[in-house]
Amino acid sequence: MQRYTEEQSNIMIQYEKFTLSNGLKVIHHPDITTPMVAMSILYDVGAKDEDEKQTGFAHLFEHLMFGGSVNIDDYDEPLQNAGGENNAYTTNDLTNYYLQLPKENIETAFWLESDRMLNLAFSEKSLDVQRKVVCEEFKEHYINKPYGDVWQYLRELCYKVHPYKWQTIGKELKHVEDAQLQDVKHFFAKHYNPSNAIMCIAGNITKEKVVELCDKYFAPIPAGEKYLRNLPTESAQTEARKLVIERDVPVNALYKAYHMGSRLSNGYHAADLITEILSGGESSRLHVELVKEQKLFSQIDCYHLGSIEPGLLVIDGKVSANVSMQEADDAIEKIIEQFIAIGITELELKKAINKTESLISFEDLSLLNRANNLSYYELLGDAEMMNSEMGKYATVSAEQVHIEAKRIFRKENGNTMWYVSKGV
């Protein structure tokens, strides 16, 4: 009985792919058990494609995509009227627009999304309002909030040439405030082309219907010029870096960021498991040692940024009252040294893999997640990663985790930031 259920736990996600003559890649994932259809349109443009003098632009642009398109005054209203919901997000790597609605009204989604891929309305009023809205978003999350500026400094410490050195919200408010309509038009022409996009349609809809609606709405969109990305490469870090900043916060915080491989590098899955072993839950190493045993931190996490190009693995903690920054820093270093010296146990590995399996299974419950992930994996190179990723995690060995840890946690690969409370 047990054996039977074990084998049943990985359900293959079925899908088909095709490409329109204008270059738009389409993925169809049928699921007739749901009354809904979800759509993800992922544009291969993120904050990394911005000019350093005009940061925050990809994200501002995402807002403008809701300000009306060439033939349709308002995006949200017709979608809501069709019983749909939508949103979008911008990362350093990509911009994804997603929606879901009852299957009966799917044509509305094709109509809306194809029109804004065709062309935007570009109004001064919309730009003016969204500049203000984004500035308020900037203030809400990055200024008017304790520790809100951490990532601005940490990114600049870790990246010297690669555009990952700025956040998607932008380097400063002024870049957003200065955005002009001409820049917006230029950005659209450069990045929002069918050949630069991937679309996934998931849910209760047949392949025939998807093909028919693609032909009707997306196929007539001109291909545009393919954008070729050419980003500066970050050279390997050769010396440990450290930054100390003082802020009006009640609690000292400590950050240690290490360069890791790209999303498609061989070590990725092992690196992901390292974060799980170090801080995934209350039986993880950092939590047990530093919060429960030594009581040096009130909170400690380890994660990576999930970027496509070479990324960062970060340890991030709030230091307990009356503990010096040096003492806290040394304690983390010691745990890392142990990790490098001894590696991990089979039990730790099994636990991290089980947790990952559970995480993936719960994530795949949602139709919208499946649509977004299929688009994302296709962007990485192959939608089939949707079905093969779990296998990659399951076959990582304790030895591989150990090797990856030794590679990542080299002293000269580390960036430490002490974020110190004024007056402590």
Partner: protein, 428 residues
Amino acid sequence: MSINRKIAPPILNATDFTFQLADITQAQLANGMPFYYLNAGAQEVVNIELVFDAGTWQQHKPGVAQAAASLLKNGTTKKTALEINELIEFYGANLKCGASNDFANVNISCMSKHLHHLLPLLFELLTESIFPEHELEIYKQTTIQRMQVSLKKSDFVANRKIDEYLFGYHHPYGFYNNISDIQAIETKDLREYILQYYSFDNCKIFLSGKFNDGIIKDVETIFGSSKWNDSDAIIRNEFTVTPAEQKKYRITNDKNGVQGSVRMSMPFIKKAHPDFAPMIIVNTLFGGYFGSRLMSNIREDKGYTYGIYSYLYNNKHEGAFGISTEAGKDVCEATVQEIYKEIEILKTEPVDTEELQLVKNYILGGLVGDLDGPFQIMQRWKNLLLFGFDKSRFDSNIEIYKTITPAQIQELANRYFIADNFYELVVV
């Protein structure tokens, strides 16, 4: 194929859909505990939730309900906190324990194949937790540090204060913990609280996802065959609200703040009131979704904020209606004035039928997705059952959403949206 892109494709109005809340099994364990389950779904995942009438409403000492929930997995007579967490995490499970105003919840999500390993542990947590002194000490330090950080945030301060004005500091819905309250918690408070309120006769079990009959048997045996945590009869607390006399407040929390947290709230009807369901439509139209009046005006037209929402409080004993936004420091007062303007428009002008149809389609269209999958269906049922409703409530709500008219909306707005009833707060 040439198409006229200016013409929207035809849609089916969600008001023409039929909505059916799938049935669940409503059983009773041998000891009398209500046990609700739904075996459905394609994926091999499962969720079990135990809900106790043990929110802050029942606590006799500040902070105890939340601390007891948080520390439930931090040591039993047989296992240390580390051993417990190792076990849960080994099975890739997610255990969440928490207390809100009215209820305490203990919830496990995991792959179906692992649940039978975890049910005995769950029972052990409920019946043999010892709340070790050193675990409580760590909890206190962590909680106090978090609170110190939160107190720097205008939104955190605003959320506490607005509820205090509405209900009074001595009412559970208006109360908030201070650092001294956290410091005063003792392990015996937690043990007593669990023994008194986390008991078989104060609990409902909700199980959903894909599982085999063996799991139902396990639940019956483990949770249903004894009178666990049996103690004195539970006395339900009673409180009366003592709202603040003053209605308008401006607080400076951070002299360098660049945004203000704007909150406006007023006392409102409870869920059982016949006007509650139609007011869900009024609220959605006014400030409950991205296309709402408040969002369209204050974000999409004026650009004062990243987002603004209104909502009906989800409390069992007292109702309230609120509006919340973070706005630029210089435009907070203008935001407050715009909110009053929108209230006035809702009261004086009937909503046009197109806008109302849009709101109905949005709510009902979303509901199609919300009823998709075992967890979502059980969530609906839980919200009905915990508030004493049955399926007829779901059906009658749908009918109201489908048929409410502009005249009814205007009438409701006039009945409930009285400008003078609002507490008004801006924290910078």
